[in-house]
């Protein structure tokens, strides 16, 4: 395959993994997160540390998922203590905290990050790995959706007090959502680090968090297919229109607001309505 297309496919797949993971937290369980990139970063750094120390890539993958998952549980626990409307600020703060911490750590390369990360496979191999990761998280998303967990997430997202009145331990399920979503982000981070081979703190900042959230919302919040569609679209958009890359925060922030106002259920909602209209 053409080198450009291979790399494009890889990044699409990484973003799909991220969006599907965030969709579990924000889409299904209704817990807004403005710091998803931090878990992506935690995975990237953990995996890079492990493999640059000479350990096998598989160990890096595990370390990435474990690190991101543990951080996810910590942020999840912190979020249980705040009122719903402060969740956005808490998760955003966690993102800034992560970045501030990494920037000051010499053993993480500070501002310059970690160079010389050796990929376990060639570009095609890495593309396959990225796609496999995306498919794995997609399968997990479908399993959640179809199981009692998905129903319970939905109840919590709609009305937490009513859910707890029905005997649902909302705290435990919110933590489960954070865990699943952040482990997915860790997986994406490990793959990403070994694709780009040099990671810097800035790749995991607020703009990246907003980008992932925009993918979920634009695609259709609470839908696996929506997360995939949103991730594909928002990855390709800056490739097609260079200005989008320059004004990412502006464009994605604007898209977020636009979609929430015009079609809160995103592209998937628009498609559903169009299909409905055609059938009628």
């Amino acid at each position: 395959m053409d080198a450009y297309l291979t790399s494009l496919l890889t990044f699409v797949a990484i973003n799909v993994t991220l969006a599907l993971g965030l969709n579990l937290i924000t889409g299904f369980c209704g817990q807004v997160s403005l710091g998803h990139a931090a878990f992506f970063g935690a995975g990237a750094y953990a995996a890079a540390l492990v493999t640059t120390a000479g350990h096998p890539f598989a160990l890096g993958l595990l370390a990435a998922m474990a690190t991101a998952g543990v951080l996810g549980l910590v942020v999840g626990l912190a979020s249980l203590r705040v009122r719903e409307d402060f969740l956005a600020i808490t998760t955003m703060g966690a993102g800034f905290l992560f970045l501030g911490f990494v920037r000051k750590q010499e053993w993480l390369g500070g501002e310059f990050g970690i160079p010389g990360i050796r990929p376990p496979f060639g570009p095609e191999g890495m593309a396959i790995l990225a796609v496999a990761s995306a498919l794995l998280v997609w399968a997990a998303g479908i399993a959640v959706r179809r199981s009692w967990m998905g129903r319970i997430f939905l109840a919590i997202a709609r009305d937490e007090e009513a859910a707890s009145s029905l005997g649902i331990d909302t705290a435990r399920f919110k933590l489960a959502a954070f865990l699943l979503g952040t482990v997915s982000a860790g997986l994406a981070g490990a793959v990403y680090a070994h694709v780009v081979q040099l990671i810097v703190p800035d790749a995991f900042g607020f703009i990246q968090s907003i980008t992932i959230l925009a993918m979920v919302v634009v695609g259709g919040i609470g839908s696996n297919l929506g997360a995939v569609a949103g991730a594909v679209l928002l990855t390709l958009l800056p490739e097609m229109f260079r200005f989008v890359d320059t004004y990412k925060l502006l464009v994605y922030g604007g898209l977020l607001i636009l979609v929430m106002h015009l079609s809160p259920d995103g592209l998937v909602g628009i498609a559903r309505r169009l299909l409905g209209a055609v059938r009628r």
Binding site: A143, V144, R146, S147, W148, M149, R151, I152, L154, A155, R158, D159, E161, A162, A163, S164, S165, L166, G167, I168, D169, T170, R172, F173, A176
Partner: protein
């Protein structure tokens, strides 16, 4: 032994003492009407009972165990279940799916089991049976957003029944309904009671409470004014004063 034992429970919001050292016991098989003027603290008392509010003082025992510090889902797990004053349906779900969520109690503390369990076909039948039991089987496939309040009030009772309650706390299930609808739900509650369910009912519609409840408790400004047989309670001078005072 009483099924529910509320002892000296208080709760204040800022300067307002919503519930003031209330003690109240509910026996197994009871049907208790909880009445009192607006703002008397009825809703707060039930929210304290099911754990949605924490008391400033006092204790609550359910089925012989102290539940004062238990979160609401743990109390619901034990069968202490509230239906809210303002109906809270999951609006985009069908009535069947709404009722089905009552069965989530079984997985409510175990995310792993919840993730591993896909099948809810047989439970769907159970949910539909509950809808039939409260008399709204015809609306099973409609979303909660599409049906009128009277149907939602019944759905909420069905959803509470799906959790397998041992004590059902109902906060104004008849409010906002016309006389016929209110009477029909009153009959439904009587039937549930006859089938063995213990009920506590907050209700403004005095005629309907007196028709269906077997015991009465009266709250006024956070204090328990009287508790006992309905006729005796209604003859109580303090109760008459509170009610006539409100009517004047």
């Amino acid at each position: 032994m009483s099924l529910l034992e509320i002892r000296e429970v208080s709760r204040a919001f800022g300067g307002v003492v919503a519930v003031d050292r209330v003690s109240l016991a509910v026996e197994p098989g009871a049907f208790l009407g909880l009445i009192g003027p607006n703002g008397a603290g009825k809703t707060t008392l039930l929210r304290l009972t099911c754990g949605l509010e924490r008391p400033d003082g006092g204790s609550i025992r359910f089925d012989g165990r102290d539940v004062t510090r238990l979160p609401p889902h743990r109390r619901a797990q034990r069968g202490l279940v509230l239906t809210h004053q303002v109906v809270r349906p999951f609006r985009d779900l069908t009535l069947t799916d709404n009722v089905l969520l009552g069965a989530a109690r079984e997985f409510g503390r175990d995310p792993l089991r919840a993730l591993a369990t896909f099948a809810y076909r047989d439970r769907r039948a159970e949910a539909e049976a509950l809808l039939a039991r409260v008399g709204i089987a015809d609306f099973a496939g409609r979303t909660a957003a599409e049906v009128p309040l009277g149907i939602l009030k019944r759905m909420q009772i069905a959803r509470a029944l799906a959790t397998g309650p041992r004590l059902l706390l109902l906060d104004e299930p008849l409010a906002g309904l016309n006389q016929t609808e209110a009477r029909a739900i009153g009959d439904l509650l009587t039937r549930l009671h006859d089938e063995g369910l213990t009920l506590v009912l907050i209700e403004h519609n005095l005629a309907e409470v007196l028709r269906i409840a077997r015991r009465l408790a009266v709250l006024d400004r956070g204090r328990l004014l009287a508790e006992g047989e309905p006729e005796a309670v209604m003859r109580d001078p303090a109760v008459r004063r509170a009610y006539l005072g409100e009517a004047a």
